[in-house]
Every structure is written in C-alpha cells, then in structure tokens.
C-alpha cells in the first residue's frame, strides 16, 4: 500500500456529544463530551460496557451520524459526512448476498467510478493483503465461512486505501482461536499500511494485544473514563500475552470498567 506521511489520518474528537431521539421525542444522550486525540498511524481500542455508545462514536467518526455538540476532525478538518479516507468494518460482514466475494470487495471502487481493469488490479492487491485465497473470490458470501466473509469485508474497507480504518467489534462473531489469528493479521496489515485504526472491542485481551492505547468509556452516556497506554513493545507476538505488563494493564482497565459498573444499569450520579 502507499505510505502515508507521518501524522496523516490523525483524528481529534473535541467536546463531542450525541443524543438519539427516544420514541417520546425526548433526547436520549449517548455520548457525553468526549475528548480524544488519536495520532495518525496509531491504534486505539475503545472498550466499555454494552450500550455505552462505542458504536455510535465510531459512526460519528465515520460521518454517518452528526454530533449534537462538538466536532470530529480528520487531519484537522471537520468530518461532515462519509469520507473515502475512512474505511469501515462492521460487526457483521455486511456483504451483498447476490454478489461474489470479488464483486463485494470491489464494490466501493465501482461506486467511485473506477474502470474495470483498475478494479481487477486492485482486487489482486487486496486479496493478497488480507490473506484471502484467490480461489474463493468467485464464491457467493453464503458459500464462505464466517472468517472468510470478514476477510472479504476487511478487504472491501481497505479498497480505497483509507487513512483511517474503523472496526466495530470486527471479530466478535469468530471463535477465540480464529479471532486471535485475525488480531495478529490485522497487526501485520497495519504495519504495512500505516493507517490509523480505531477498534471497538469488549475483549480486554484483544484491546491490549492490538492497541497503543485502550480507551475506557463509561456506561451511557459514554464518557472517556480512562486512557491507558499499553506498554508492550512491537512487533507483538502471542508470547507477549503472558508478560507482566499485560496483566498489569488488564488489571488497570478492569479497575476502570469496575468504576463504571459494567453490566448494571446506570446510576444517575455517574453521569454528572
């Protein structure tokens, strides 16, 4: 992939709030004054209890939701809508069932008006990049395994060479062993692409394994309650998972998640 200049793909979230409108018309706050700075080329893991607004935060960065207050900046320019510099991987592969894997991967290129020959070239690069067996690219999504489908989704997100890759619990539907392998493959990919990665997860080990920093969000409305640097040297390997630094970081994250009463309903005073 192309090597982006240092600092490109940097994201700043300034005083960001977001509220959904409930059925009765009252605003339901989801994010509460989130301030976060993600340097270009970094990997951040977002962790927090269910319903804390992690996915909402990701959608604000993706330009799919407009914040009620504050703003999200990419390369110091406000994000006002979906942007080709941002690639998105959803929790489920979200493939078009009537298209082959190859046509799913090149779908963003097709929408962007790339000619057929260039799409084919890019497809070859992308399948190689995400480790997809070229033999299966002709198959429909229903014929592929869950892991392969998510590989296709990852390749699609990378199609337009984004500066930023947003991942919403991308491997949560996979079994533990496959998931670990995908985490390492994601790291290899990141080393080659220099993209900024923001990954929502609810696995502490996954966050530590992948990220430079693990950002802990409170229950709804989500606020940043901790921003923990993972001091495990790169390149990371599976052996690193037993290091003392890892268990210390995990303990620290857990302590902050404990603050937030994970899994419980939100006490009103927490929000204040």
């Amino acid at each position: 992939m192309n090597s982006t200049a240092v600092g490109r793909g940097g994201i700043q979230l300034c005083d960001l709030s977001f509220a959904f409108r409930s059925r009765t018309g009252e605003p339901l706050p989801v994010l509460d004054r989130v301030d976060l700075e993600i340097p270009g080329g970094g990997i951040i893991a977002l962790i927090g209890p269910n319903g804390c607004g992690k996915s909402t935060l990701l959608r604000v960065i993706a330009g799919l939701l407009v914040p009620a207050n504050g703003e999200a900046l990419l390369d110091e320019v406000p994000i006002v809508g979906p942007d080709p510099r941002i690639g998105l991987v959803f929790q489920e592969p979200r493939l078009l069932p009537w298209r082959s894997a190859a046509d799913n991967i090149t779908y963003p290129l097709e929408l962007a008006g790339w000619p057929v020959e260039r799409r084919a070239e890019r497809l070859a690069t992308l399948t190689e990049l995400v480790g997809l067996d070229p033999a299966v690219t002709g198959a429909r999504p229903s014929e592929l395994s869950g892991g392969t489908r998510q590989r296709v989704a990852l390749a699609r997100a990378l199609a337009l060479e984004p500066e930023v890759l947003l991942l919403d619990e991308p491997f949560s539907a996979l079994d533990a062993l496959t998931r670990e392998r995908f985490d390492f493959e994601l790291l290899r990919l990141w080393e080659r692409s220099a993209a900024t990665i923001v990954m929502v997860t609810h696995s502490i080990p996954e966050g530590i394994l992948v990220a430079d920093r693990v950002v802990v969000l409170s229950p709804r409305p989500g606020r940043v309650v901790a921003d923990i640097v993972v001091e495990v040297p790169r390149p990371r390997s599976i052996a690193d998972l037993d290091e003392a630094a890892v268990s210390r970081t995990a303990r620290e994250i857990r302590a902050h998640l404990g603050d937030t009463d994970i899994g419980e309903t939100v006490p009103a005073e927490l929000a204040s």
Binding site: G81, L111, A112, S142
Partner: protein, 249 residues
C-alpha cells in the same frame, strides 16, 4: 432436469388423462358435453395444422405480452414510489385497492366501449389486472432492503441512482418476480375476458365461435387447452428469466 425428476410430472399428467377418460366412459357422456381426451387431442392437432387456431393465437399473444409489459412496467415505478414515500402510499393506495376490488369482468365491457373492440382495450385490461400484484410485490421488495446494507451504501457515498441499481433492485428482485409470476397468468385471464367483452379475433372469440355457430365442442376444448398452455409457457418464461437474473443466493 434429469430423467428421475420428469417421471412424476409425466405420471401425474397420465393420471389426469386417465381420470378424464374414465369420467367420459363411466358417465356415458356424449362428446358435446365432454369429449374424450383422444378426440380433443386429435382436434387440437388438426386445428393447429389447418390454421384455424393460429390467427387467434397471435392476436391473444400480442394482447397478453403488450398488456403485461405495460402493466408490469408501470407497476414497477408506482411500487417503488409506494415503498419510498409514505405520503404517496397514503394517497394512492385506496384507489389502487378499489380498482383491484372491482372485478375485471364488470370493467371489461366499459373499457371496450371506451377503447374500442381492437387491441387497445385488451392491452388496457391486461395491464390493469397485471398492475396490482406487481406493484404490491415491488413495494414489499423495496421495503425489505436490509437497512444495514443501505448504511453501507451511505458510508461509501453511493448516489441515489447507485443505491437503486446496486442495493434496492437486486434486493427486491425475488419479490418482484413473485409478483410477476402471478401477474403473467392474470394477463392471460385479462386477454380472454377482454375478448369476451367484444373482439373479432382471439382465442376467446374462437371459443365463442366453437360453442356457438360452429358447434364444435372438441375445438372449444382444444382452444381451452391452447389457453392453458399459453399460461404455463409464459409462467415458465418468467421463472426462467428469474433464474437467470436472481440465480442462487
């Protein structure tokens, strides 16, 4: 299909013919009430061979095909509008349902009066009868598009036209074809009813001739058989097109 798959179909047809023959023999029915199958088969062949059926067949086919194309075409556009605009649905749906509730049998003489006994009135009747199932199927199909895929489209900055071409139409296609399967068989009914209400040529006219001035009951049955075969053939044509466009998912 392989030989094993054809066997039950051929068997069922053989059984049908046998029962028919048995009813004629056991009931002692004269040919002008119910001719036996071999008489109908013979008349079917001679009527096609001597050119009795052909001009009527062509007339009816043109009516059906034109009526289906016009009716289904309009239904696709209106069905999409119904799916995408709640206001349009609220305004238009009472009229659509009312139009559907009035039997085409009652409407047909009126339409023949308005549009004349020629091709135009038949095309209008066919399109009317085809319209409703295809419009409803299109509306349901377009509404069934996965909201998550639409969000994907939005994240990739797809234009309205791209969303229509790459997400909505492919997602709605199975449903639309369901409506077209119903519609194409109804188009046959529409053409026959229209000709019944007033026409100088067509398979329904031939039936009227056969049972009236010609008093050729086997010919009437041979024409009925022709109409049934037209329905089956058109239905299978729609299914074949569906296989091609929708395929395996």
């Amino acid at each position: 299909m392989n030989r094993g798959a054809w066997l039950p179909i051929v068997g069922a047809f053989g059984f049908f013919v046998l029962v028919w023959k048995a009813v004629v023999v056991v009931g002692g029915l004269p040919p002008f009430i119910l001719p036996p199958p071999e008489t109908v088969a013979e008349r079917f062949i001679t009527a096609w061979a001597d050119g009795t059926v052909w001009p009527h067949f062509v007339t009816t086919m043109v009516e059906i095909v034109l009526g289906f194309v016009v009716g289904a075409g309009l239904a696709l556009v209106v069905g999409y509008g119904l799916a995408r605009s709640a206001l349009f649905e609220r305004i238009a749906s009472p009229y659509l349902v009312a139009a559907q509730a009035i039997p085409i049998l009652v409407l047909a003489p009126l339409l023949v009066l308005w549009f004349g006994p020629g091709l135009a009135s038949k095309v209008v009747i066919c399109s009317l009868i085809v319209f409703f199932p295809v419009a409803i199927a299109t509306m349901v199909g377009i509404r069934s598009v996965d909201a998550r895929l639409l969000e994907l489209g939005r994240s990739l900055r797809a234009t309205h036209r791209q969303v229509l071409a790459t997400l909505e139409i492919p997602a709605a296609l199975p449903s639309i074809f369901g409506g077209m399967r119903v519609g194409v068989t109804l188009a046959v009914v529409g053409a026959v009813v229209g000709e019944w209400a007033g026409a100088s040529k067509g398979l329904a006219v031939l039936i009227n001739l056969a049972r009236g001035s010609l008093f050729d009951i086997p010919l009437m049955f041979a024409t009925l058989l022709t109409i049934a075969l037209v329905g089956v053939a058109l239905y299978l044509a729609v299914v074949a097109l569906e296989r091609r466009l929708v395929g395996a998912r």
